[in-house]
Amino acid sequence: MSDLTNLTIAAARDGLKTKSFSASELTEAHIAAVEKARALNAYVLETPDHARQRARESDARIASGDAGPLEGIPIGVKDLFCTKDVRTTACSKILGNFVPTYESTVTSQLWRDGAVMLGKTNNDEFAMGSSNETSALGAVISPWRRKGSNTPLVPGGSSGGSAAAVAARLCLAATGTDTGGSIRQPAAFTGIVGIKPTYGRCSRWGIVAFASSLDQAGPFTRTVRDNAILLRSMAGHDPKDTTSADLPVPDYEAAVGKSVKGMRIGIPKEYRIDGMPSEIEKLWEQGAAWLKNAGAEMVEISLPHTKYALPAYYIVAPAEASSNLARYDGVRYGLREQGRDIVGMYEATRAAGFGAEVRRRVMIGTYVLSAGYYDAYYLRAQKVRTLIKKDFEDVFAAGVDAILTPATPSAAFGVGEKGGADPIEMYLNDVFTVTVNMAGLPGISVPAGLSSEGLPLGLQLIGRPFDEATLFSLGAVIEQAAGTYPVEAWW
């Protein structure tokens, strides 16, 4: 039955419909795969009993003809999504063994449509990181290895567990969140597809907040079509999140395979950064050539404020995080360390509960919002953000349908290799992705080739607000030309 884990969602959907196998069989195959792959540390909580129960319910619905669009599809859920009665930690010590009494809107929509949860996947603590190494529950080991090397590699972050689980066939799909690249970068590192939808496309309700104006949920899958299928279930207006958009959700799957003929694709010159590896440059050119072959027109564009995006992001995101994380104070839930008085309790709890990267960002955020520094940092960063947004608006107004860029400046790196001495080294991973969050636009990462070391590389497509459909059409073209990149199991 192990070949069931190789299926795409689309193929699994067909197989379940034709009763080639049952949802229970599909789930069992994945439970077995998850158990076998514990060396990857992709899951921080396995919920096999829950999954089996859900799969049985799916089988009953399939039998009675009440199957939902994701009926019986086993998925992983990033531990940032609150799941009712299932431990949710954001991979931080400070949440301890927190068990929500509520279900996030995005996951409740997935369950509504019949999906089966296999467990909670690992992530950087509070989604702060680009390598999944800041998780309080341990780093994730990428299923990928460099040619001829056993060096453990990072899967990227912050949704590293979800990306590794999908790539290693430990689920058919997984949810992620993306604040500065946390879906697209790990998707690129693990050779799978990940989309960060337009800000407001998916409800943030019930997702542990990192930076509220940037956070957005999205799916990881092994194909573009699967991505389109999953996003349709995850997206939609939620009255409980006033920043969610009250817009209809299109049938994204219909966009897969649609012609891209005549589309104008922008190639932003500012993304040709100094020191960019030539293989990344080549990949980018290759992507442009594929799209051109499919009938799209390539146009060089300028996004002049790109270079300010990363520094501005590392002001806005920590500022919001410093406030969002104030609720973890030891008073109502999660970890509490004793102190001589209330302030002592706060200090001891937060010192013990937050890891180094989270503490760093809370301090940066507190600093940039402080009286006397607010104008110089936070306010200026917001102005930069407005300019970045305008750069994109101008380009789209000039008739560009989407923008093609590399997803990351390099392939995956080794565990412990980056950021030890200088956190900026790690932050630079997000250089191509943060602009998209700053502008609130949709961005998809699609695997496009392998590095000289045999590691996956991705291309990013950036779309107009709420035009994820075009990204799926274009992504499918790249996917078709580049092929998919299944990883060989060594674990």
Partner: protein, 489 residues
């Protein structure tokens, strides 16, 4: 050179006169079923932590959603304060750690409040009036309550209030005495209660004031102010200002300077004391709340609310003066509480407004005050009081009997007309019956009769005797006329 006119608001110090300058931040709990950003109930007095939603407890991943009724209430309040309504306002986070602040920040409005500048006209006890400028009104969340006396080593937290909507109404520093401050808060409370946007219940903490006090020599720039936090009665506001102004004057006259600080008023000792200095002040790190979009509405939205505003105290007072011919003072007393004004209008309908006003202000309000009751709980209804007035104007009873009747209705209830009938309280207007009594008294008191011939004022004695013997029921006018005739005056 003529001496300057004496300003009654000045405070005399050892070295000369001082002027106190006061500005106020009044926190008014918005009348609404549910909280500002959650569906939890705002009901007072529930079991601790029984009105707490996931949002109020700041559980992970929870998001605020604005309660539109609170927005409407803030706009209504702005309109009632003749203020600018800002069609676009922004919610900010005010960050600080406290156990009864679950989010670690209060959602408030910092740079862009929903209501801008306005004005409140305030009548003072001496008959004069002042205008107090409104700087702004903004919406914000209330915090929960820390309870320190239930456990020997632990503090407990009740989050029922956490997230309840407050309006912070900020005045300009236009107030110059404790009397003015008290009158301002009374008037503000009256406007809010008329609007139905805050019940003004200070005992429950639904209306409380931060009072900013400074002193200066008349004509000089503002002095350094101290802020007295959370004063929760109008009387205490007056006491706190009096104490604080004196304290500051003494310090300056002794050669000291005022430190800008936050102080607390201790009602038991009648004094203010330091809570924290400027150096200890929090850096709240305000920034726009990214969970909430800017609050936007169009003019039509405001106009619709404006069109449905109730008559407010100022308008009602003007109308009472114009339509009922009441003196401004009486009109002012009647309109202070909407229930009193409504009661008065029910009594005055189709009756003499001035006597209706007199009865409501003197008899009714006096009696209610004595027993500490609200007019809503008056044992004498407007209909009953109206009937009593009818009985007077019909000359069925005298004014004096009417007071007895009022007492009976107060204590026992019932239809005043029926009571008069049943208890034989009717005024005697039958001249034959009165004449008979007059004749008896005249016959029995020849010396008094003689006295009355030379001293017409002595007729009063005869009137008294007649009234006494009729049990107060004789029509006083008829008694007078008959006496004058019989005595040949």
């Amino acid at each position: 050179m003529a001496a300057p006119a004496k300003n009654p608001n000045l405070i005399r110090g050892v070295t000369g006169d001082w002027e106190v300058v006061i500005g106020m931040e009044v926190h008014a709990q918005v009348t609404s079923e549910s909280k500002l950003f959650s569906g939890a109930s705002t009901a007072f007095g529930g079991e601790p932590n029984s009105h707490v939603s996931l949002v109020d407890a700041a559980m992970p991943g929870m998001l605020p959603v604005i309660n539109e009724e609170c927005v409407r209430q803030a706009i209504r309040t702005g309109l009632g304060l003749k203020a600018v309504i800002n069609n676009r306002s922004v919610f900010d986070r005010k960050n600080y750690f406290y156990p009864d602040l679950p989010q670690g920040y209060q959602i408030s409005q910092y740079k862009s409040p929903i209501v801008g500048e306005g004005v409140v006209g305030v009548d003072l006890p001496d008959g004069s009036s002042i205008n107090v400028g409104i700087e702004r009104v903004h919406l914000e969340q209330d915090a929960g309550k820390s309870i320190h006396d239930q456990h020997p080593t632990l503090s407990l937290v009740d989050l029922n209030r956490s997230g309840v909507a407050l309006m912070e109404i900020v005045s300009k520093p236009d107030i110059r005495s404790s009397e003015q401050a008290k009158a301002y808060v009374s008037k503000l409370r009256s406007i809010l209660r008329y609007l139905g946007t805050c019940d003004g219940d200070m005992e429950k903490g639904n209306l409380r004031a931060d009072v900013n006090v400074s002193v200066r020599r008349p004509g000089e720039p503002y002095g350094t102010r101290c802020e007295i936090k959370n004063v929760n009665s109008i009387r205490f506001i007056g006491q706190a200002i009096e104490y604080e102004a004196r304290r500051q004057i003494e310090i300056i006259e002794d050669g000291g300077t005022i430190d800008q600080e936050t102080r607390l008023f201790d009602p038991n000792k009648g004094e203010t004391r330091s809570m924290r200095s400027k150096e200890e002040a929090h850096d709240y790190r305000y920034f726009p709340d990214p969970d909430l979009l800017p609050l936007e509405f169009d003019d039509a939205y405001v106009d619709a609310l404006r069109a449905n505003l109730p008559e407010l105290p100022d308008e009602k007072k003007d109308r009472f003066i114009a339509s009922y011919g009441l003196p401004p003072y009486d009109a002012g007393v009647l309109i202070a509480e909407k229930e009193t004004a409504d009661y008065f209008e029910a009594v005055a309908k189709g009756r003499d407004a001035k006597s209706a006003a007199n009865w409501v202000i003197n008899e009714l309000a006096g009696r209610l005050n004595k027993e500490g009751r609200d007019i809503g709980a008056s044992p004498v209804s407007a209909a009953q009081l109206g009937t009593i007035l009818d009985l007077i104007s019909e000359k069925t009873i005298s004014g004096k009997i009417a007071k007895d009747l009022f007492e009976i209705v107060w204590a026992e209830g019932g239809d005043p007309r029926g009571i008069v009938e049943a208890r034989g309280m009717k005024q005697v207007t039958d001249t034959g019956a009165i004449e008979k009594v007059v004749d008896e008294i005249v016959a029995a008191n020849p010396d008094k009769v003689a006295d009355a011939k030379t001293n017409p004022k002595a007729i009063g004695w005869f009137v008294g005797q007649v009234m006494k013997s009729s049990g107060g029921k004789a029509n006083p006018q008829a008694v007078n006329e008959i006496l004058k005739a019989k005595l040949g005056l």
